[in-house]
Symmetry: C2
Subunit: 307 residues, 2 copies
């Protein structure tokens, strides 16, 4: 246990103050995890919003300024901005500083930052697996992370103390923390997160391309299943563009498998193969049961007080 009233960090710099960055800032404040929160973002407009929301103790559009004297720097920007940002802050980091992130792809983080950060600075890649379809500093909230998993992907050479501190940060935000090999993380998340997201974008895109009359009716009757996909497909486009570009191999592999399975389904429908369809639709119940048994979702059979 850390000493009472002594925060985990003296100064945390949060670079990028969107959904995740602003939720982290709120959780750090709420749980008293740092004496000083330095907020940086490139956009003056976003910075003004962050200031209005009192998300930090200091505000700047200059990431290099924010990281001065920080013992923890958390990069909360799209994956495609990591390399440039790393170069911008490298010269201002103090010895012993920890640099972490919140990106959905971990191999690319290591590729983009490992060689750029000076000796004596510790890179601890992290992925808090939590989010909503909303973006921007006003969309964040302190309890966003609660009960979700956070995956850390240090390698054998990563400083153990630094890993422990990053673990403590996310545990203090009520996350369950696991360590994993970076490329293994990327393959698992390609299935559990990237594939569903890309499928949702595609399905909503297919509907968006329909003639206008149909579009109105699609919206009207969306409660029949489609609506859930539109919610997912409202997520931040730049963030997801960068996930695609930075976890390309794992994503193309899983999209390939999915496409094959979809072709098999189409073929079975065309040939009226009822047994094949019933079998496929039955097997998928098994994984749902597993998720409920592992406490990852509620069974939630019907509204309360209904019979």
């Amino acid at each position: 246990m850390p000493q009472t009233n002594k925060p985990l960090f003296e100064r945390i710099a949060i670079i990028g103050i969107g959904l995740i960055g602003s939720s982290l800032a709120r959780a750090v404040r709420k749980n008293n995890l740092a004496r000083h929160i330095a907020v940086a973002t490139r956009s003056t407009e976003t910075l003004a919003k962050a200031r209005d929301l009192s998300l930090g103790d200091s505000y700047t559009t200059d990431a290099a300024e924010a990281v001065i004297d920080a013992d923890l720097v958390v990069l909360c920007v799209p994956l495609g901005s990591m390399a440039t940002l790393g170069k911008a802050i490298a010269g201002s980091l103090k010895q012993g500083a920890i640099v972490s992130d919140v990106g959905s792809s971990k191999v690319s983080i290591i590729r983009d930052l490992q060689g750029i950060l000076p000796d004596g600075v510790h890179l601890v890649p992290a992925h808090p697996v939590a989010g909503t379809e909303f973006s921007g500093p006003e969309a964040g909230y302190a309890s966003l992370f609660e009960g979700h998993w956070c995956v850390l992907t240090p390698d054998a050479n990563t400083d153990k103390q630094a890993v422990a501190k990053v673990r403590s940060l996310w545990e203090a935000c009520a996350m369950r923390v696991e360590e994993m090999d970076a490329s293994h993380h990327d393959r698992v998340l390609a299935i559990t997160s990237h594939l569903p997201q890309l499928i949702a974008y595609t399905i909503v895109g297919t509907a968006t391309d329909m003639e206008d009359d149909s579009k109105r009716e699609i919206m009207k009757y969306s409660a029949g299943g489609f609506r859930d996909f539109t919610r997912i497909a409202a997520s931040d486009p730049v963030m997801w563009r960068d996930v695609c570009l930075n976890n390309k191999d794992a994503i193309l592999d899983i999209l390939g498998r999915f496409s094959e399975d979809l072709s098999a389904l189409q073929r079975a429908i065309r040939r009226d193969e009822g047994d094949y369809l019933e079998n496929l639709f039955s097997r998928t119940r098994e994984i749902r049961r597993g998720i409920i048994e592992m406490g990852q979702d509620k069974p939630d059979i019907k509204p309360e007080n209904e019979n």
Copy 2:
């Protein structure tokens, strides 16, 4: 307005007492829409459950017996059972009886029942667009239909009085009722309901086929998007098999469009076409805004009392 205390129907026969049939039975009872509810299902086990739940006033495994003297018969069985069921009850229907259903495909209902039902019996195909991923009589509840759409697909020859009565039934269950051409219904629902369902089955199937180690991790990290799909993919396999077989043309058309769009996405990822990806992921937000503006979903930005 109907006269006070006089129910809309004297005798309703509900054939098939799963999620939808049992929810209808509960809603009919709760809103006093019939003097007598006759429940029929082929399975003695299911019938016993229905009796335990007091869903009706009489119970039988013989649909032909249930429909005797019924002024409304609602067929709540999978689409593939409609033709056989229609033949079984045709001889027992009284003159002037209305036969309706709750199936997800309407062209096939007309094809399977139109020629079978005797003259003087009115076929009014209906589709209450509501449901959950749960099955069986115990999964139903009276408010399942509230606020959702119900689509009726009568043709020019359908008795207007009969259509009005079926409309009144679903309006009394708090549904918003629309009339539509049967084949138009099938095309709209192929997009809003059947495509999302089949994609959910496929994505969960793709994951189910992964090696066992990955499967555990897929369940563990399912909160990253995948979980929503497993919920959808837990729906009744026989019902969905029959939807595929009975709305085949519209489903194959929309699956074809979806496949093409998915191939275009894969190609863009492989070629690092960031602009294409960002553009696609931005366009899909438009349809979400439309759904929220039409009151079909809540914006629901963050949990209450959070900042």
